[in-house]
Subunit: 310 residues, 2 copies
Amino acid sequence: MTIRLQAIASYIPRGGIDNLLQAAAFGETEDSVLHKIGARWLPRKAEDEETSDLATKAVAILLEKTQLSPGNVGALVVVTQNGDGYHLPHTSAFVHAKLGLPTSVPVFDISLGCSGYVYGLHILRSLMQASNLDNGILVTADPYSKIINPQDKATTLLFGDAATATLLSNQGHWSLSNPRMGSDGKNAEQIMVKDGQFFMNGRQVFNFAALLIPKEIQALLQENGLNETDIDSYCLHQGSAGILDAIARRFPAVKDRFINKLYSTGNTVSSSIPLLLEEQISRAETKRVLISGFGVGLSWASMILNRKEI
Amino acid sequence: MTIRLQAIASYIPRGGIDNLLQAAAFGETEDSVLHKIGARWLPRKAEDEETSDLATKAVAILLEKTQLSPGNVGALVVVTQNGDGYHLPHTSAFVHAKLGLPTSVPVFDISLGCSGYVYGLHILRSLMQASNLDNGILVTADPYSKIINPQDKATTLLFGDAATATLLSNQGHWSLSNPRMGSDGKNAEQIMVKDGQFFMNGRQVFNFAALLIPKEIQALLQENGLNETDIDSYCLHQGSAGILDAIARRFPAVKDRFINKLYSTGNTVSSSIPLLLEEQISRAETKRVLISGFGVGLSWASMILNRKEI
C-alpha cells in the first residue's frame, strides 16, 4: 500500500498583533519588519484557547473538507513542544477526546519544532504502511505565544500561532519521497526554554540554516535525480524573511520559486510548511514541491512531493 | 528488510526509597506494600541527574554490550513525558549531544507513558523499514520522581525511576508482530499533572486495565493464531502487583507466566516492559513473549515477540 498526502487544512486564530506597532515600540523600522522579519501581522491564540483546541479546530476543518468521518481515522499524531500545559498526558489524548474518535485510534505526540512537519509526515506514513492503515492525520500545533516574553525583541516580533491538519491516505495524489533528516544536539542551546525563559540565538540559527539547508536541498535533489528547475515550488520553513532570502540566493535560477508567506502569520514553527503546502497543492500548475524544515534541536528534514496524475 | 529486536540494556539509579519505611509513615501495612503495590524498593534518580542523563547511561551500556559504534546508529527515539525540564528542545537532542552521535542521526521524542514502549517499538521499526536503516535505538526514560508529591500516598508508594535502551536491527533475533493499539482520551484526566500536581485515580485506572487488557490479550492471541499456552512469558506493564494479579487471574492456565518484578523497582512507567524483556530474552527457554502496556492517555498497546532460530 502506498500512502500519499491527500489534503491539508489549517486554523489561524483571529486575534493577533500588529507587528509594525509592536516593532515601533522597540525602535525597529518598517523596512526591518517587512524585509528582515517579514511579518506584518502575528496571529495569537485567545488566552483560554488550549493547544488541543487549536489542533481540534484544524482537524475539524480537515474532516469537513474531505468528508472523512471520525470513525475512519486510522491514527492521529500531534507535533508540538507546547502542549496543553501538562507534563502528561500527551496533547493528542485531548484532541482524541474533543473529536470523539473511536478507542481503536492510536494517538501520540511527537516532540519536535520547526523540522517536525517533515519528520511527522515520514513517521506517520511509515506507521500507516506497516499497520496497513488507510487514513491518518498529522497535526501541527505549537503556539509559541505561551513561552514568548513580550519584552524579548528577538522572538516576540517573529512568532505567530497556528495549527494545521494533514490527511495521509491511500487515496492521496501527492507522493512523498524518502526524507533527508539530521540532528545537531551539540547546538541545542541555541533555541531553548530555560528557567521559564524562551531564548533564541538568532544569529547562530541564521548561520546554521544558511550554511546547511542549501547543501541539504542540493543533496536531496541529487538523490532523486532532479535539477533545481525540476521543482515548481520550494516550501521552506518560514524562519524569517532574511533566512529565506539567504537560502534562496544560493539558487539564483529558481530564486522566485522559494515561497515567502510570513506577512500575515510570522514564523508558526511546525505549521509553517503545511500552511504553504495547503495553497500549493490547490494550484493545478504545481506538480513537484520541495519542503524543508529546520530549527530547534537543532534538527532538520527535507522531502520532495510529487503530484500523481489521476 | 526485516527489523527485529536485538538487545536491551537498562540503567537503574542506585539511590532510592525503602518503601516499607515510607509506607509505615502513611500507616500502610507490610502486606499491602508487598502484595497490593508490590514494591519493596523504589529507585530515585539523584537531584542533579537529568532525564537525558538516565537515557544516555542506558544507551552507553547498550552500545558497550552490543559493540555498536555511535557512528552506526541510524536513528534514536526517546519515549518520555518528563524530559529535561524544558518545553524545548526535545530530550533526545541532549542525548544526541551527550553520546556524540553524528549529525546524520535523526532523533525525536515520543510523548506517551506506560504504553510508550510498545508504541515506540512499532514506530521505530516502521520508520527503520521505510528508511532502510540497519540499526535504531529506542530509549525509555520517564522519571516520575520529578512530579510526585511525597505526601500523595497513591503515587509516592508506587513509582520508581529507571531508563532502558533497546536496539532494533536487521541482525536481531526477536521478531515483532503487528501491535494492537488504542486510546481513550475521554478518560485522560484519570492520570494527569494539573497545576503542577500529579494526580492518578488509582481505582479508575485499575478498573480500566482489569477490564480492557485481558480482552486485548485475547484478541491479539487470536489475530496471531495462538493459544494462551503458546506464550512462554507475559510481560505486562508493571502498574502494581494488584493490577497484575487481576489480569493474570483471567488466564488461569498460564497465570504463573505473568511476570511480576515490581519488588525492587516499582512502576517505572515506559521502562517497566523492557526491564522484564531484558531478562526474558537472555533465557534460552523463552521463545515467545507477549507484551502489553497501558496507562496515561488513556492509551494501550500489545504485541507478540518471537525468537527466531539462528
